[in-house]
Structures are given as structure tokens and as C-alpha cells.
């Protein structure tokens, strides 16, 4: 099975061929490296930019103004912060012109902890991203969703942020992408750039097919009746694993799309389980999950739930320390999530 980096690469290839993508660009995105996580190897329209994040986002906006469909990358979301006002502008372009211009652009950036990335390769961006109206924000937790969400992002007429959970980029999927060869080795031989001289290398793309995941649609990845866990990105597989092995009956929702989000799926699940926990690794204060939690208590679910909604998120500290003791005490890991599950299930209404 393809890993997430390969899935992203295949989606970008499909989009070059079928959605008129004109430019895939960012730092080290083009040959010879094809991205620091190899997600842009072998593509037709990639190129390397100056080391200038504001320039990258600005160029994407300009390409969008010209009606071109592009995919820009910020190498790590830790370095996206000096572009926030530009992101706001991308988000308000359609609105402030009363619909005169739209920006069909996709911005992708690796996010989150889990690779021992220390202070400046572990940031999350989902909380910030959901505070920039006019954007759609998606975040996959597995290769096939990465493929489907990226195709939808690129084909969308609005700016879409595609957040890549960096710890999952090398994780293989459990489902084949339509058209993906069943044999992993042959996929690797066909689309992974060789080590050493790559100047003559060309990928042999498999005949992959369109497979889109509607933005705004979540997925129930584990059914259950005692508790709902809503997560996305890196923490999703952790929650999924806990649920599968738990003595409790836990429903796990992969939100996939943060804005717009799938309230119906959350609502129906919480109505059934009467308890809900939101898990992500962004810092906890003004966390996106707080909005979802607020919505639970401000809807009629308030009269059905047996426990206050719980947000399990990154500690509100300035950074994520390098030593595993520090990282694991800062962002949600298995142990903490399990403890919180026990606590929320103990509550007697």
C-alpha cells in the first residue's frame, strides 16, 4: 500500500493531468529533492522557490487572481506564521470583492509533532487555520483520505489548506487508491526517486483514477455506544487503536474536514453515546475543539449528554521540547488519552 507521501504525490500527478494544475511550488519542492518529505517527487509542474514564505503565499494568491490552479507548500507549518495576514487576504478576497475574484488555490503544509521535531518542527496549525474565514481546511489521517481530500482541495474554487500530519507521511494505508498497483515494491520502483543521481529519472505513474472525498464529510472509523471520540490527523490513528482494543464501546470519528465540518455526524454520534471527547494536538487554549465542544453544550445535545465534553489537546506551553519525556507530556499520547477515556466514562450523571 502507498504511504501518505506517495498518495499525495499521486494526487498531485492526477491533478496535473486532469485539473489543469499549473504550478506546484515551494522550498525544495522541485527536482532534485521533490520535497523534504518526498511528497512532490517526479511531478511535471514543480519548481523551487526562494526561501521566502511570504513570497510563496503571495505568488499563490497572484496565480489564483490570474485564475490558475496551483498548489503551494510551506515546508513546515512552523514557518507559516509570518504569512498569516496573507492567508487572511486569501480568505477575504472573494468576500471583499463581493464575488468578483475567487482563488482556486491549495496550500499544503506539514503539521504536528511525533517525529522528535523539537521546538520548530512540531507546531500545529489547525487552530489557527480554522480562524481564517474564507478558507476550507482539511487534514487526512491516512493515505487514501490524503489522496481524496487533496483532489477535492485542488478542484475547489476556494482557497483550501491541506494540513499534512508529518508523523503519518511514511505510514502505509490499509486501502488501495483506485488504480494503485497492489504490490508495494512495484509502486515504489515506479514513483519513488532513486538515491543518488536523479537527473535522468522519470516516474512511471500508475493509471490512478479520480477518487474525491467531499470536503465537509467526516467518517466514522469505529462504531461504538459508550463514548464518541472526534479527532483528526496524527491523533486519529492513536484514538482508533485505543478504541479497537478497549473494553468499552467507543465510536471514533475522523473529522477529516475542519472547516466546513460535519456537524451531523458528530451530532448523531453524541446523541447515541451521550459522551464526547475531542482529541487533537494543537495547544489547548482557544483550540478548535473548544468550538466543537461549545457547540455540543449549546445545542439540544446538552439535555442528553451524561458528562461535560472533554478536550484533550496540546498543553498551552510555548513549544514542544525535544526529549521524548517533554514531547509526550505536551501533546496527547496514548496513555493520556486512555486515562481521559476512563475519567469521562466514570462520570455518573
Amino acid at each position: 500500500m502507498a504511504n501518505m507521501a506517495q498518495a499525495i504525490r499521486m494526487a498531485l500527478h492526477f491533478a496535473e493531468e486532469n485539473y489543469n494544475v499549473t504550478d506546484i511550488f515551494g522550498q525544495d519542492v522541485g527536482a532534485p529533492l521533490g520535497g523534504v518529505f518526498t511528497a512532490t517527487q517526479g511531478l511535471k509542474t514543480t519548481w523551487n522557490t526562494p526561501l521566502d514564505e511570504r513570497g510563496i503565499v503571495s505568488a499563490a494568491i497572484g496565480l489564483g487572481l490570474a485564475g490558475d490552479r496551483c498548489v503551494a507548500e510551506i515546508q513546515f507549518c512552523d514557518y507559516i506564521f509570518n504569512t498569516i495576514d496573507l492567508l487572511k487576504m486569501a480568505g477575504n478576497t472573494h468576500w471583499k470583492t463581493s464575488g468578483k475574484y475567487n482563488l482556486p488555490i491549495t496550500l499544503m503544509t506539514p503539521v504536528g509533532a511525533g517525529i522528535r521535531g523539537s521546538v520548530y518542527h512540531s507546531h500545529s496549525f489547525d487552530g489557527w487555520a480554522t480562524r481564517i474565514p474564507g478558507w476550507k481546511v482539511v487534514m487526512p489521517s491516512n493515505p487514501i483520505d490524503a489522496y481524496g481530500l487533496l483532489l477535492s482541495a485542488i478542484d475547489d474554487p476556494n482557497p483550501v489548506m491541506f494540513l499534512k500530519p508529518k508523523a503519518l507521511l511514511r505510514v502505509k494505508g490499509e486501502e488501495l487508491i483506485p488504480g494503485e498497483p497492489g504490490d508495494e515494491k512495484s509502486l515504489k520502483a515506479a514513483i519513488d526517486a532513486p538515491l543518488g543521481d536523479r537527473s535522468k529519472w522519470k516516474p512511471k505513474w500508475p493509471k490512478i483514477k479520480e477518487h474525491k472525498i467531499t470536503i465537509g464529510k467526516a467518517k466514522v472509523v469505529n462504531e461504538g455506544s459508550d463514548l464518541t471520540i472526534v479527532s483528526y490527523g496524527r491523533t486519529l490513528p492513536i484514538c482508533h487503536k485505543i478504541a479497537k482494543n478497549s473494553e468499552h464501546s467507543i465510536e471514533v470519528i475522523d473529522l477529516r474536514s475542519l472547516y466546513p465540518y460535519d456537524w451531523e455526524t458528530i451530532y448523531n454520534s453524541v446523541l447515541k453515546t451521550k459522551r464526547v471527547m475531542f482529541v487533537n494536538e494543537e495547544t489547548e487554549v482557544t483550540n478548535f475543539a473548544e468550538h466543537l465542544s461549545y457547540r455540543v453544550t449549546n445545542s439540544d445535545l446538552f439535555y442528553h449528554i451524561h458528562a461535560a465534553p472533554k478536550v484533550v489537546a496540546g498543553k498551552n506551553v510555548p513549544g514542544i521540547g525535544l526529549h521524548p519525556n517533554l514531547e509526550e507530556a505536551t501533546v496527547p499520547y496514548e496513555g493520556e488519552i486512555k486515562n481521559e477515556i476512563e475519567r469521562i466514562l466514570e462520570i455518573i450523571p
Partner: protein, 368 residues
């Protein structure tokens, strides 16, 4: 204090127009109008046309100011004093939609450019009066924040300097597309301190793919209340282009003839070579920064329109009577439009969610 301790800045300040008062010296001493009495070889009809458009732009802007002062608008910002640069720029721009035409990434002093391109003054008045009918923003944004996609006029953004970065994107698209379309950027002098200005120079001149950008700076010597002299170690802003091998020049933007000739030359070069030009133009700021600073006439600054008018009258290219008539009829026209726009509807409160997403796809989480 900062200023007096820096002797290098003092000497460099001499070489630039800087504050508008010195601009006058630059006009008379340093940058003699191209061709002097010969008007750079421009035809009389072109000169008359240019004057006509400058008057139209000025009268419109002065009406905008009055609209603000009578309490019919919340805020004014605009371009009186920049007509001698903006009008020639608008006349020379390749007007239309798509990459074969020029993209215009303007700042909030774009009225002269757009008047020269044929903008209906009513649309400018609708904008400042935040009517629903305002085609640029639908009543959502400030005066001079124009947007006309049919002419590739991309939305004016309040954050200073971002348009310099956006032009890289349209320039990339035009370069790929082929043809003669270029991307034109306007902006102020103080704003060049922002990183986006440097980004523009860097991205426009990458050896891997130089871009067809006309990067202009309208140097009025001020950023609100901060004078040029204390903030710029470079002798001229245009000198910064040289480091990147960008063809760079400084012109007297208060002389429409010089502006026209130099713009035409530069645009021809960019259209053909598909490489950038950096052009700094000294201009006046006749009514201060914006309504926030009172929007009162600063009589110490050279008035490019009056100066041009004098030259044309002296050379008998225009007649005093016609000029007076022109002002009168333009003033009456703008007044009439103002009355009409007053009666137009404001945007409805219920429209705030409109255009958050394309095709008005729901963006209100309450309805997710």
C-alpha cells in the same frame, strides 16, 4: 534625534525629492521635463487628452473629499497629486481581462489610473459611499479600494505592500502564457520597507524565470506623518533594483510628459524582454495622507495638474476658457452623480455571509 545623528542620510536626502517641498526643487533643478517645451514629442491631442483625464481625476477626488467632509462617507483616501503619474500609466496599460492584458495591482491611490482607463466616476462614488451598487466591493471596503476584474484590476488591499507579492503570481501566469501582457504594481515609498517589496525584487529577477513586472513606487516623501529622510539609508529607492540586475530608474512623476515617455519606454521593454523594471516616481501628496489627517489642501506642494496646465496654456495647446469650462462641467457631473448615488441602496445586514465561499456555498457553522 535619529535624523541629525546620521550624516549619510542627510547627503542622500539631498539627492531625492523626499518631502514634497524638496520635490519642487527636483522638478525644477534635477529632472527637467523631457523635451521641455517640446513636450517629449507627444502630440497635442495626446497632451490635451492627458490634461483632460487629470482634471477628471482631480475633480472626482475633490468630490470624494467633500463627500467625506459632509458626513456622507466614513473615510477618504485617494490620489490628488499623483495624476501626472497615474494618468499616463492608465493610458498606457493594456486594458482587458486575462493574461494577454496587463494586470494592475494598485494601492489606495489608483483613481487617476482608473479614470484614464475609463472608469465610470459613479463607481468611485459608490465605493466611498459604501453602496450595494459599488461594483468593486459591494459596500464592504474603503474609498479607492478598487477592483475591476474585467480590466485585470485586482482588489486593492489595505495592508501595505502585499500587492508587490501578488504581482509575482500574475506575472508568472503571463510569462507562461506568452504574449505581451505585463503586471503593473503601484505603491508608496514608506511601504518599500516591508519585506514584500524585497520579495518582489527577488522573485521578479530569479535567473530561473525573470518576470514581466512593472514595479513602481510613488515617492511622496511621507508615510502618514513619518518623513522619508529619517527612514531610508538608500539614496534612491530605485537603487535597490540594481542589486538584482533589474532595470531601474527614478523619474519626476509630477511631470506627465516625463511619466508618459518613461512609462512607454519601460513598458515596451518589459513587453518584449519579459523582464522587470523598477520605476520610482516623485509625486505630491496634495491633501495629506487621508481623511484621518484632515484631507486639507497642502499649498506648499507642487501641484502637477496646475503646473502642466500652465505649460499647456503657455504653449497655446489648451485655452483658458475651455479649461474653466472643463472644471465646471466635471464638477457638475460629479455633484449630479453624488446626488444619484445618495439614493442608491446600502448593502443589507443579512448579506454578511455572502461570498464567503464561491457560489455562496454555506460558510456559517450554525448551518453545518
Amino acid at each position: 534625534m535619529e535624523k541629525s545623528s546620521n550624516t549619510r542620510k542627510k547627503s542622500s536626502a539631498k539627492a531625492v525629492a523626499g518631502a514634497a517641498i524638496r520635490n519642487k526643487k527636483a522638478v525644477s533643478k534635477k529632472s527637467k521635463p523631457v523635451g521641455s517645451d517640446k513636450f517629449g514629442g507627444l502630440s497635442f491631442s495626446l497632451l490635451r487628452n492627458m490634461h483632460d483625464l487629470m482634471v477628471k481625476s482631480r475633480v472626482l477626488e475633490e468630490r470624494l473629499i467633500k463627500i467625506y467632509k459632509t458626513g456622507d462617507a466614513f473615510f477618504w483616501i485617494g490620489a490628488p497629486g499623483e495624476e501626472a503619474f497615474g494618468v499616463p500609466l492608465g493610458m498606457l496599460a493594456k486594458k482587458g481581462q486575462g493574461p494577454l492584458n496587463d494586470y494592475l495591482h494598485l494601492h489606495y491611490r489608483g483613481t487617476p489610473v482608473l479614470v484614464a482607463m475609463g472608469m465610470d466616476p459613479k463607481d468611485s462614488i459608490r465605493l466611498i459611499m459604501n453602496r450595494k451598487t459599488d461594483p468593486s466591493t459591494g459596500g464592504r471596503n474603503f474609498s479607492n479600494h478598487y477592483c475591476f476584474p474585467e480590466w485585470n484590476v485586482t482588489p486593492v488591499c489595505s495592508p501595505i505592500e502585499v500587492q508587490y507579492g501578488f504581482a509575482v503570481g500574475t506575472g508568472l501566469s503571463q510569462k507562461r502564457h506568452g504574449g505581451e501582457g505585463i503586471s503593473i504594481i503601484t505603491g508608496g515609498d514608506a511601504g518599500t520597507a516591508e519585506g514584500d517589496f524585497a520579495s518582489c525584487l527577488i522573485w521578479a529577477s530569479r535567473p530561473a524565470n525573470p518576470l514581466p513586472l512593472l514595479i513602481t513606487v510613488q515617492n511622496n516623501g511621507w508615510g502618514i506623518s513619518t518623513s522619508y529622510d529619517g527612514q531610508h539609508g538608500e539614496e534612491k529607492i530605485s537603487d535597490r533594483g540594481k542589486a538584482y540586475g533589474i532595470k531601474s530608474l527614478t523619474i519626476n512623476g509630477n511631470d506627465p510628459v516625463e511619466s508618459y515617455v518613461k512609462l512607454k519606454e519601460s513598458m515596451a521593454y518589459i513587453r518584449k524582454e519579459r523582464k522587470p523594471v523598477l520605476m520610482e516616481a516623485y509625486v505630491s501628496r496634495l491633501y495629506g495622507h487621508s481623511s484621518a489627517s484632515g484631507a486639507n489642501l497642502d499649498t506648499k506642494q507642487p501641484d502637477p495638474l496646475k503646473d502642466f496646465e500652465k505649460r499647456l496654456l503657455k504653449a497655446d495647446i489648451i485655452k483658458k476658457k475651455d479649461v474653466e469650462e472643463l472644471y465646471k462641467s466635471e464638477e457638475a457631473k460629479c455633484m449630479k452623480i453624488f446626488r444619484e448615488v445618495q439614493k442608491e441602496l446600502p448593502p443589507e445586514a443579512s448579506s454578511i455571509w455572502d461570498f464567503t465561499y464561491v457560489n455562496n456555498e454555506n460558510a456559517d457553522w450554525r448551518n453545518f
